[in-house]
């Protein structure tokens, strides 16, 4: 007999799924550009999902993992923490998306429904305890993202970006699936814990390593790590900015969770093999990301390359043992908060039919509006990793974990290129403060978006108070994996 109370740990997922359907229907009854109610529904969904996710922890049930649906779904502290971050990011995404789509005169309910479905995919990935569930979550996220990228269907660039994203994404999914099937062939199970046990009890590595290579290629594609980064700049540039800021944020957390679940929880015995592969990917990403970003004049492309280098840092953390996983979890959380803020600024400066995605659009922002220039300064400086902003601490923890593992040369290379990377961040700051504005057009945004953006940017300072606590939580939840 089926017992409904078994579903309780999956309540956040069920809520997001049902609300996505509600938003889909509500979208039919709202006029174009009148989507205030839809945005409200979406934000409320995230708030309640956060309450449902957190209520057990407030009640004192600490970080024990619960398995559900025949052990295909896991509810643990690691997943809950990442999910809460995803909810917060999505609230930001909803507000920025509303602002952007209103500007472009293209606000439709489906956009928000797809965002919610993508959120569901992310949650499924974070909670996947079985290769099938992980893969299906990935596909749900990817399929929604393709549609979101193609949203501006009259824009040639948007279509091109969607096409590239779709083809390369499908290729990456294929790679991942092939790797998973090889691993399944070698161990005969799809459960993460059982795979780990099966690998430990046998010594035939050949199939497993082959499978591992494909899995890492797949994850590398999804994360956008060099040398699988080719799609990132084109997709970031071509997609509507609202979609870009989504792609740059929450899915990265999902990809991180995917990497930890697959590499850390099921293939942990093969750590010697994947450690060196990840180190290579990390170093290549840091080098490629920082060097190519130097030549960009388009801000979206610049952020795309900066993402690549940040992903490199995140992967570097995964090399650094158990502390390292916590450090890279901290890194990815901090990075996604910075990233949506950065793209949020582009949304802010855009106007109808015009995207402020060029560095020269930020010229003299200080004269136009000192507060926004200050917010952008915080975000950019945090991305570059200037102390005492939070972006500095995330880099610090990762490098410390890497050095503790004895990979000093990795840390040295990473640091050198982080310093080189500081150049292009500083250029944006210089343009904002020391150049004359080309336009004196007033920046016209709603109060809500202004508030969200301010909170988002001030978090770079404000989170400093909780850095040790946040990092402690990261350590706690990754240890309980």
């Amino acid at each position: 007999m089926f017992n409904w109370s078994e579903l309780v740990p999956a309540l956040p997922e069920l809520l997001v799924l049902s609300m996505a359907c509600v938003v889909l229907i509500a979208g039919l009854f709202t006029e174009r550009n009148k989507g205030g109610f839809i945005v409200f529904l979406s934000v409320i969904t995230m708030v309640f999902a956060a309450i449902l996710t957190l209520k057990d922890h407030v009640a004192g049930a600490q970080f024990t993992s619960e398995l559900l649906f025949n052990e295909t779904f896991v509810r643990d502290g690691f997943g809950d923490m990442l999910k809460v971050v995803v909810y917060l990011l999505m609230i930001g995404v909803f507000f920025y998306a509303k602002q952007y789509l209103r500007q472009q005169n293209n606000l439709q309910g489906e956009y928000f429904a797809l965002l919610l479905f993508a959120t569901l995919g992310i949650m499924v990935m974070i909670s996947g305890y079985n290769f099938i569930a992980l893969y299906l979550g990935l596909e749900l996220l990817a399929l929604s993202s393709y549609a979101l990228v193609a949203y501006n269907r009259n824009n040639v660039k948007s279509n091109e970006a969607a096409m590239k994203y779709f083809i390369l994404g499908a290729l990456a999914s294929g790679m991942l699936l092939y790797g998973m099937s090889l691993i399944y062939g070698a161990v005969g199970t799809l459960q993460l814990d059982q795979i780990s046990q099966a690998i430990a009890s046998q010594n035939n590595d050949m199939f497993l390593v082959l499978g591992l290579i494909f899995v890492i290629v797949g994850i590398g594609f999804k994360l956008g790590a060099a040398p699988f980064h080719m799609w990132v700049p084109d997709v970031y540039e071509g997609a509507p900015t609202a979609t870009t800021l989504f792609i740059a944020s929450a899915p990265k957390i999902a990809a991180f969770a995917l990497a930890v679940r697959i590499l850390g929880q099921s293939l942990d015995v093969l750590v010697i093999h994947w450690q060196s592969m990840l180190a290579t990917l990390a170093i290549m990403s840091i080098i490629v990301g920082n060097l190519f970003a130097l030549q960009q004049t388009n801000l979206k492309r610049l952020f795309a390359y900066s993402t690549i280098s940040h992903i490199g840092f995140m992967l570097l953390g995964l090399v650094g043992g158990e502390q390292g996983i916590a450090a890279s979890m901290f890194y990815i959380i901090v990075y996604t908060i910075m990233a949506i803020g950065g793209f949020g600024m582009i949304v802010l400066l855009s106007s109808k039919g015009y995207e402020a995605d060029d560095i020269k659009d930020f010229k003299g922002l200080n004269q136009r509006n000192g507060w926004y220039a200050f917010l952008m300064l915080l975000l950019i400086a945090s991305m570059a990793g200037f102390p005492p902003l939070i972006g500095f601490f995330s880099k610090l923890y990762v490098l410390k974990a890497v050095i503790d593992q004895g990979y000093i040369w990795l840390a040295v290379i990473a640091l050198i290129f982080a310093v080189i990377g500081a150049f292009y961040y500083l250029r944006i700051i210089k343009v904002m403060y020391f150049e004359e504005p080309e336009t004196d057009q007033a920046i016209d945004v709603g109060f809500d978006v202004k508030t969200v953006l301010s909170i988002n940017a001030l978090a770079q300072l404000g989170l400093l108070v909780v850095v040790p606590v946040l990092f402690q939580y990261c350590i706690l939840v990754t240890q309980s994996l």
Binding site: C21, F117, A133, L143, S144, Y151
Partner: protein, 211 residues
């Protein structure tokens, strides 16, 4: 008199030959329509092979889904696109080397596989024969809705997203669309419907500008 086992083997070889033959025809035939039809033949033969290993559900699904839906769609597209038959001379040069390389690699792989199998390392178990009255569909359904209910539901959501995305990306209000709005038609009143235009009488064969 042929024994049942022998008869089964006979069936297997006949249909296996047809499968391989039609599969080869798919890639060698120049006319795209014939190629698609050969693919249909290939699917039918594969369905019979599945029937032989008692996978009735898969066999029927293959015929229903692939032959019934996918291939029909395929044929539609091929016929609507008016694909020109590629001339042999155009095909000759471009991909021959790459194709040969891949074919050689696959041949080596196949030979390795056979060598591996002949070495006896892969256990070749007999098929488990189920007794009469065993329902394939019921078994698949039970597994799908108990063990795999979570992946199954997510797959359903993925389908929903696919539908939403496809409609969102393709449905548009075109300018000059002649579609009729039934609600508007019903709500109209006579005063709006007829417009009396006064105009000069025209001579000759000129046509009225408005009616």
């Amino acid at each position: 008199m042929i024994s049942p086992e022998l008869f089964q083997q006979l069936i297997f070889y006949v249909f296996a030959t047809f499968t391989v033959g039609s599969a080869m025809a798919v890639v060698t035939v120049k006319n795209t329509i014939y190629s698609a039809l050969f693919l249909v033949l290939c699917f039918f033969n594969t369905a019979v092979l599945w029937m032989l290993i008692e996978a009735e559900f898969l066999a029927i699904t293959l015929v229903l889904v692939y032959v019934g839906a996918v291939m029909v769609l395929f044929l539609f597209v091929v016929m609507m696109l008016d694909v020109k038959q590629a001339k042999a001379s155009q095909l000759k040069q471009s991909y021959t080397k790459a194709a040969l390389l891949i074919a050689a690699a696959m041949l080596v792989e196949l030979m390795m596989l056979f060598a591996y199998k002949l070495s006896g390392q892969i256990p070749t178990d007999e098929l488990i024969r189920q007794e009469a009255g065993y329902s394939n569909v019921a078994e698949v359904g039970m597994e799908l809705f108990t063990h795999y209910v979570y992946p199954f539901e997510i797959a359903a959501v993925i389908l929903l997203v696919a539908i939403v995305a496809a409609i969102m990306l393709t449905m548009r209000k075109r300018e000059g669309n002649k579609q009729l709005d039934a609600a508007k038609q019903i709500n109209i009143n006579p005063a709006e419907r007829i417009r009396v235009v006064t105009m000069k009488a025209e001579k000759g064969q000129g046509q009225g500008e408005e009616s």
